[in-house]
């Protein structure tokens, strides 16, 4: 009994622990509006500062965290139109929930929509589950400010699905039921394996959920002026409502609706951009290169690296790599986390249990790949279109991270046809962002509650003896609690820097979950010890490396940077003609730097500077996770696990015996 309580306490503690990982933001009190530093490139420092910190990419993408407070310009959506569009989305999705609630009777209905989702529907739902507001707003923003690197950054998010398609989708459909724990516990000791799988699922989901909730609150506050707390509570109530009452059926349809809205918005906007460019893609690129504002923006960017470029050369440089992603090792590390982590994400794995057959699972991944890939290709048009039509200077004036680029573009493209269309189009895209947030958080809440209710409550505590009614009730109560925790964490993390949490979620999924899933399905000698050591080492290594990485705030490093600014500014001041003063923005930067220079102390784990120099731990933690899983299994061989391999292997390849897995 005590053991069970410990497990429950541990999983709950882990969800709360996300707040601790979301370390105190460095958000300087002096920053305008006091908004926490965004994950966005460069958004964390004032653009006026001479020592501009160009951060390497975070999968979080800019929109997941706060776009910094608008300074010179503002982008405000028309409240009435936007709120009515939100109301329409809420109305439609609520109708779906009422309809879905009637169909949700058994545990299989709740977790897997009774296996009754078609391949095509599931494909749209996967796309809806996967594309967060960060990819929607953040990547086009990166392209509008850094050109080629933004595009290159988006590639990994699609390539990740090759792993899902070839390695995990069909075997998981054939060998699993509702959760990661089902796949892993097949030929191992079910209780400890399920408990560890649940802890890993809950931690991945919570990291991701925290980043999404904070991003949602910030975005809503910025766009429609709804206060942060109100936004979080509103989003939280909707998310709990979808999951508790409608289970997987409602979540699936919310995701399908979102993916449809997102794709129509992206198509429409790209169409307008291309229409303006005369539907000539080559001419479109020539326009980018010849644009004087882009040329000026690029020459300023490269000047920081001591390179002098001007005119067409600077314009061409916008289409070449290296303006934003400066650390190739970090890039490769992120690529590894994406390529392996997506296939280990519990909310993505869970989608494969909703289709009836392996063929449907295959079809759904392929459809999802076309939707996701198509979206990223359109994102290029949106990003470059924003750079041409709004100028990078105009975009950074609203948000230094570029997160608002797509929305500004929508407003302008609409307004060029008719002013009211601008407001309407902007409101529509805000509504798409809103639907995006709802779809992603619902999927995460469902995955986390399935792990707690199905793995821990039903199979560990109740030894699998719970009737359908009790299982559904447990699932609903757990979803409610998980959702409520999500709201509390979202509110608590308002002032925290959450950008690294998405990177962390992918790293844990890639280093902890994926190795054990693959080895369970494909390696005869794999067993309980392997699962547990793989999950623990992969998860702990990822978290530990992020804790000592440059993602955390190091007051002494910040102070040293601020000191450089002070020195540079003082030099500039000394070189001025007598009587002249620095421009206002330089004075402000100097004042802020002087304050920051006095910072002292250590990061939350007590370090003066990062121990691990990469922001993405994958390149180290993934091999560690695999090694631990292999060594654990070899050190404690289990005959039973080896004997049962034939069954798992035949099942995962052929789908034999699957009917049992669905009905049971």
């Amino acid at each position: 009994m005590t053991m069970k309580k410990i497990i429950i306490a541990a999983s709950l503690a882990l969800s709360v622990a996300a707040v601790a990982f979301a370390e105190e933001s460095k958000a300087p009190a002096g920053a305008p509006g006091g908004t926490p530093a965004a994950s966005a490139p460069a958004a964390s420092t004032t653009p006026a500062a001479p020592v501009m910190k160009v951060e390497t990419a975070q999968p979080a993408g800019p929109a997941a965290a706060a776009p910094a407070a608008p300074k010179k310009k503002e982008l405000k959506a028309d409240r009435t139109i936007t709120i009515s569009m939100f109301a329409i989305i809420i109305g439609i999705t609520m109708a779906v929930v009422v309809w879905a609630a009637k169909q949700t009777k058994s545990a299989s209905d709740f977790y897997a929509a009774g296996g009754g989702i078609t391949g095509t529907q599931n494909g749209w739902a996967i796309a809806g589950d996967y594309m967060s507001a960060a990819s929607f707003l953040g990547i086009s923003g990166l392209i509008s400010l850094y050109g080629y690197d933004g595009f290159m950054y988006s590639v990994g998010w699609l390539v990740a699905y090759i792993t899902v398609l070839l390695i995990v989708a069909e075997p998981c459909r054939n060998a699993g039921k509702y959760t990661l724990g089902d796949i892993l516990s097949f030929r191992t000791s079910p209780k400890p394996v399920r408990a560890f799988a649940a802890i890993s699922t809950v931690s991945v989901s919570t990291f991701y959920l925290t980043a999404q909730m904070v991003g949602a609150g910030k975005l809503m506050a910025l766009l429609v002026g709804i206060p942060y707390k109100t936004s979080i509570i509103g989003v939280g109530i909707l998310m709990v409502g979808y999951v508790v009452f409608g289970g997987m059926v409602a979540t699936t349809w919310v995701q399908i609706i979102k993916a449809g809205l997102l794709m129509s918005g992206a198509f429409l906007l790209s169409f307008l951009v291309m229409m303006k460019a005369g539907f000539n893609p080559i001419g479109f690129f020539d326009q980018i290169v010849a644009n004087p504002d882009i040329q000026d923006h690029v020459s300023k960017l490269v000047l920081k690296d001591g390179v002098i470029l001007a005119g067409m050369d600077a314009g061409q440089r916008f289409l070449e790599p290296g303006l934003y992603l400066k650390n190739p090792l970090d890039q490769i590390s992120l690529g590894m986390a994406l390529v392996l982590g997506t296939a280990g994400m519990p909310h993505i794995l869970m989608r494969f249990f909703t289709v009836p057959t392996a063929q449907a699972a295959r079809k759904s991944v392929i459809i999802a790949m076309f939707i996701i890939g198509g979206f990223y290709v359109l994102t290029t048009l949106l990003g470059f279109g924003a750079a041409i039509n709004l100028t990078p200077q105009g975009i950074t004036a609203v948000d230094p991270g570029g997160n608002m680029a797509t929305l500004m573009l929508a407003q302008q493209m609409g307004a060029e046809i008719a002013p009211v269309l601008g407001d309407l189009f902007l409101a529509f895209l805000c509504a798409v962002a809103f639907a995006t947030i709802l779809a992603v958080v619902s999927g995460l809440v469902l995955a986390a509650s399935a792990a707690i209710a199905h793995d821990i409550y039903v199979n560990v505590i109740k030894d699998g003896h719970a009737d359908q009614h009790e299982q559904v009730r447990a699932a609903r109560i757990t979803s409610f609690v998980v959702g409520a925790c999500g709201i509390v964490i979202g509110i608590a993390a308002e002032k925290q820097n959450v950008a690294h949490l998405v990177a962390l979620a992918f790293a844990v999924a890639a280093s902890g979950n994926l190795p054990v899933v693959v080895l369970s399905l494909f390696w005869r000698k794999f067993n309980t010890a392997g699962v547990i050591s793989g999950l623990v080492v992969g998860t702990v290594a990822s978290i530990a490396l992020v804790m000592v990485s440059p993602n955390m705030t190091y007051p002494k490093v910040e102070a040293a940077k601020a000191h450089k600014v002070v020195v540079a500014m003082e030099k500039k001041m000394a070189s001025l003609a007598p009587g002249a003063t620095l421009p206002e923005k330089d004075l402000k930067a100097l004042e802020k730097a002087r304050k920051d220079e006095k910072q002292d102390g250590t990061s939350i784990v007590g370090l003066d500077k990062p121990l691990f120099t990469l922001k993405n731990p994958g390149i180290v933690s993934i091999p560690l996770g695999f090694m631990a899983a292999l060594l654990g299994a070899l050190a404690f061989p289990s005959r039973r696990s080896e004997e049962m391999f034939d069954e798992v292997y035949v099942r995962q390849n052929t789908g034999l015996g699957m009917a049992k897995a669905v009905e049971h």
């Binding site: 080629y148 699905y161 890939g373 052929t654 034999l656």
Partner: protein
């Protein structure tokens, strides 16, 4: 549990299953490795051979851009190719195996 009992190890030794398993393993892991290599050429190439990425191909469009764009088409192409092979070969072998076992 009224379900049918399968003799899993016998099925695992069935020649049809062995054929399915060999074909599938070679295909899946082979193409997975190919896609990883092709993908990682992008960040590695962008970082260490920027000269190649800068070569202009059509108008202002350079090799780097086309290479990044090709990643999408290679992924889609691979997905469709896999669907084709799976529908034609793997599913057929699976069906034949199940028929043979009279299940």
């Amino acid at each position: 549990m009224a379900e049918k009992k399968y003799d899993w190890s016998a099925i695992a030794k069935n020649p049809k299953f062995v054929e399915l398993h060999h074909k599938k393993t070679a295909f899946l892991f082979g193409w997975w490795i190919f896609s990883c290599v092709y993908y990682f050429l992008l960040p590695i190439g962008a970082a260490y051979t920027p000269g190649i990425f800068k070569v202009k191909i059509i108008g202002a469009v350079n090799f780097g851009y086309l290479f990044a764009l090709s990643q999408f088409f290679v992924s889609w192409g691979l997905a469709l190719y896999y669907a084709h092979v799976a529908n034609k070969d793997f599913d057929r072998l699976t069906r034949e195996l199940i028929d043979e076992l009279h299940l």
